[in-house]
Symmetry: C2
Subunit: 185 residues, 2 copies
Amino acid sequence: MATTPNSLPGPSVRTIPDGDTRERMVCPDCGFIAYENPKVVVGSVVVSGDRFLLCRRAIEPRRGYWTLPAGYLEVNESTMAGAAREALEEASARIEIDGLLAVYDIPRISQVQVIYRARLAEPSFEPGPESLEVRLFAWEEIPWDDLAFPSVRWSLQHFKDWQRTGDERARGNPEGVGSGRPQGL
Amino acid sequence: MATTPNSLPGPSVRTIPDGDTRERMVCPDCGFIAYENPKVVVGSVVVSGDRFLLCRRAIEPRRGYWTLPAGYLEVNESTMAGAAREALEEASARIEIDGLLAVYDIPRISQVQVIYRARLAEPSFEPGPESLEVRLFAWEEIPWDDLAFPSVRWSLQHFKDWQRTGDERARGNPEGVGSGRPQGL
């Protein structure tokens, strides 16, 4: 069993544990095996009438850029509850979820993103600790060049596509980007 | 900071790390924080003509019961690639994926299940190491009382519903089960 030591604390030795088929990080002090798992990001495209709620990030990565209310799903939480929690944490916004908009694969960073369609349930919102600013944008005002991540753009465009076509199938990655799953399937 | 020690190796002390808001398991030897994350299960309802492919589990939990080819998504893997890999590992089956069938929340065990609709791409299949037996069942032959997990039943029923209605919206948990997300949204 070949090992690649490094100097980080905790599970810091890369090796294939007995009975396993893949390399895992193992702690040389305590023997703990840190199974790396993909992470689930939950979020929502939130509208109020015909305007879209976006949050300007107060944290890295992409501090200062605009994003959807979204973040990591917690243990023992449903994806819908997680999406609602993120809207509350990042924008102090209570939302009503209408349906599943998209499941995006970001295998490069081992993320699966579950994005819902939602509406503001109450008119009030304000920045939480992870946001510099929260605003409603008309479609024409959306700061496309200052969005934090490609999946923010995909989500907004897929929401608009859903509005235009009435096609409620969950979307996937845009064609040719990552998952191999055709958009709309 | 209150701690609850126990006798397991590795991260074995439950505490709220500085700057965090939730309890995490921390290793008293090396200080490593084990963030527990929900896990992503990927799988598919695989048909050949009008018959459904099921695998009889060779492993616990639910050894001897019938399940879909499904399992944990690996790092750097898309959900579609993961679903195809599981069909290959558990049933030696090459599949063609047609679309997203469902996203189920199982918050009690911190799982998100991403289930696809698929067809056998080649007629051959046989049990992999985690299966005792692999079989194609006509709808009327499905061993409903011997399915391994509720989500296997949900998946089969949602697939059938998709066939009957042509409604390609991704399904969620059956109403009243777990997620709070209405079926079909």
